[in-house]
């Protein structure tokens, strides 16, 4: 009974419930370890999980149109590895060029998936399941089972993830990329026809088609954008860790999807917001970074993470039900 009244107090939006979860998590971790909420630690959090933030933005698009992409980890590895190999063999390659190479490879990967899904009508989970092994295999093959190590990267490339020149000396470069992306996505999804088209396709593809939206093109675009972002992540990842391995990013897709879902994106399509996704990623990242910091045994972390994800999505459903009920009541009055 008490629970219900608590839900009632959260009348605003689903994002509000996420903020509450976030605050509880932060307060709990900070009370156990005072080092958690220091500027350095927070910057470290955003820096290390920058890749996840970038990927969730793209994943959100794909989920909103009712698709899914589980190949992003492999795309990340393939594109990141390509850029790394170019850097290794042509050390004079500049940082932007390396990033562009990675993004280009990712874009092509995404475009292929988009084409197969949108035009050949292959269910996205199957297409990306296949693409997941294809791109992973390619990442190993082009690298010939080798790694690209720190000493083989150019100094500028390694320094990129550690410097703040894009952020006017205050904010880390990777974090700047994340901020720009989130702002752009927020504006596009909220205030432009493009954003509305994406939502329309996800809510009801047939209705969207009838109303003149080119559904296949929107789908193609969404997968391509996710591919491009996975490519960007590949470059960010290799720059951040100054190392490129064929198995990098393995399993990141599940973290990214979980972050989206926790952030209120519906896997059935049509629903999801940039703010929610941002908060969801933050929660998942804080679990990843925070649990080791408060001395939770390594062996318990996975179970706790699973439990938090389950609870978060269930709370999400409960809040949604409450909201629907409230809306219904208002209508009745």
């Amino acid at each position: 009974m008490e629970k219900k009244s608590l839900w009632k107090t959260i009348t605003g939006s689903r994002e509000a419930s996420l903020v509450i979860v976030l605050i509880i998590l932060c307060v709990f971790i900070a009370s156990r370890n005072s080092a958690f909420l220091t500027p350095g630690s927070i910057e470290g959090l955003f820096k290390n999980y920058a890749v996840n933030f970038v990927l969730t933005c793209g994943m959100m698009l794909v989920l909103i149109i009712g698709g899914i992409d589980i190949s992003i980890g492999s795309t990340l590895a393939f594109s990141g590895m390509t850029a790394s190999l170019v850097l290794r063999d042509f050390p004079e390659t500049s940082v932007p060029v390396a990033f562009l190479i990675s993004i280009a490879v990712g874009t092509v990967c995404g475009l292929l998936i988009g084409a197969v899904v949108a035009y050949a009508k292959v269910p996205p989970i199957i297409c990306t399941l296949g693409a997941m092994s294809v791109y992973r295999g390619l990442a190993y093959l082009i690298a010939k089972n080798e790694w690209v190590s720190a000493s083989e990267f150019s100094k500028a490339y390694k320094a990129f993830a550690q410097s703040r020149y894009l952020g006017f000396g205050i904010i880390n470069n990777l974090v700047v990329i994340v901020i720009i992306l989130i702002v752009v996505f927020y504006i596009v999804m909220k205030w432009t026809p493009i954003g509305r088209k994406v939502y329309a396709v996800g809510s009801n593809a047939e209705a969207a088609l009838v109303s003149g939206i080119k559904v296949t093109k929107v789908k193609l675009a969404c997968y391509t954008i996710l591919g491009a972002l996975a490519g960007l992540s590949g470059a960010m990842f290799t720059s951040l860790y100054a190392s490129s391995q064929g198995n990098m990013g393995e399993g990141i897709e599940m973290d990214v999807i979980a972050a989206c879902v926790v952030g209120g994106v519906s896997l059935n399509g049509g629903r999801g917001s940039v703010i929610g996704v941002f908060l969801g990623t933050l929660i998942i990242s804080i679990i990843g970074k925070g649990l080791p910091m408060i001395g939770v045994s390594q062996f318990w972390q996975k179970a706790i993470k699973g439990l938090i994800i389950l609870l978060a999505v269930i709370i999400n459903v409960l809040v949604q039900r409450q909201m629907d009920k409230a809306a219904l009541k208002r209508r009745e009055i």
Binding site: I126, L138, M254, V313, V317
Partner: protein, 339 residues
């Protein structure tokens, strides 16, 4: 009125689908034959009965997961927690065996753990119908494997080889040729096939997969069916765990990593698509052997596993893409005709 037209559509669709599926299976059979021709050409060691039976053994333990997975996909859902369920069942089998529980009881415990895990998935799925099953099983996937890690930490639990009959579940061969597991698999597969295609339950699954709402209004107990299928999946995760433990003589929390994608891949290649309401059990079974033998054949000539990854993925995409292209055209024609 809506109900009437709905029914006629389903009936018509079923008829045309059947035609389609016949084609889809012929297609699979062709690939299957081609793969076998290729394999026997690239390696002269391929066509040997004991070799092939050994090869089937190495992919059949995962294939047990494809049986219930067909049902899950058929009703338009997905379960990506199966690998983790296998891990948890196997770990508890090992723990209880090493705590002095007789092996037969440990096996029952493993099956029970699987059932419990599946039941939990099912309960969440029917209590929170808003949640996509992918999300639920994503969460429970992490949770189940996490519990397995909590229990066993960095240890493994072994010594199963001391129980001869248990070891023989995987390694034993009837008459020195036919593996025990193969026989059990065939029996299970026949039962699943009959249920899927010849029983009321099977027909209802197709109905639920095609249109949940319509199925509900036509009196099918949809939540009950979902719960049953998820629990059944759990049970077969337990079965897979038993065979995997027998195979390895030990258990670890990382058993079964990635099994879910393998199992789903096999079903999908077999034509049991993730959209629900479509698919034929035989197709899934052909694709189990198709993928397994392809991998075995390439392994025999020591093709790098990297290339194998690419081949496997590409095969999955192309195999699903080709009939889908036809499907689109087929339905368009159909629509024009009816209009």
């Amino acid at each position: 009125m809506a109900g009437k037209s709905g029914r006629t559509i389903i009936a018509e669709e079923k008829f045309s689908l059947k035609k389609l599926l016949v084609r889809w299976e012929t297609f699979l059979v062709i690939i299957f034959i081609l793969v076998n021709i290729m394999n026997s050409n690239i390696s002269d060691k391929y066509l040997s009965v004991p070799g092939l039976f050994n090869a089937t053994n190495s992919f059949l333990s995962i294939a047990f997961l494809t049986l219930p997975m067909c049902f899950v996909l058929l009703i338009g859902e997905i379960d990506i927690s199966v690998g983790a369920q296998v891990a948890l069942s196997a770990v508890l089998l090992g723990i209880s065996f090493n705590a002095g529980v007789p092996m037969w009881l440990a096996v029952i415990i493993a099956l029970a753990v699987g059932v419990l895990c599946g039941f939990l998935n099912g309960i969440i799925a029917i209590k929170f119908t808003e949640l996509n099953p992918m999300i639920i099983t994503l969460g429970t996937q992490i949770l189940f494997r996490g519990i397995a890690e909590m229990i066993l930490k960095d240890q493994s639990t072994g010594g199963f080889t001391s129980v001869k009959w248990f070891s023989n579940l995987y390694w034993g061969k009837i008459g020195g040729v036919v593996p025990v597991m193969f026989v059990i698999f065939v029996i299970c597969a026949v039962i699943f096939g009959v249920v899927m295609h010849k029983s009321t339950f099977g027909r209802r699954m197709y109905a639920v997969g095609s249109n949940k709402l319509a199925a509900k209004y036509s009196g099918i107990n949809v939540p009950g069916m979902r719960l049953t299928i998820y629990t059944l999946t759990g049970l077969f995760c337990g079965v897979c765990a038993v065979f995997a433990s027998s195979q390895m003589g030990s258990a670890r929390p990382n058993v079964g990593a990635g099994y879910e994608l393998d199992a789903i891949g096999m079903c999908v290649l077999g034509g049991v698509l993730t959209d629900g309401g479509k698919g034929n059990f035989i197709g899934a079974m052909i694709s189990v052997f198709l993928l397994g033998l392809l991998k075995y054949g390439l392994g025999l000539v020591n093709v790098s596993s990297n290339i194998m990854l690419v081949v496997k993925g590409a095969l999955l995409i192309f195999a699903v893409m080709i009939p889908h292209l036809n499907l689109g055209r087929f339905f368009k024609k159909k629509a024009v005709k009816t209009a």
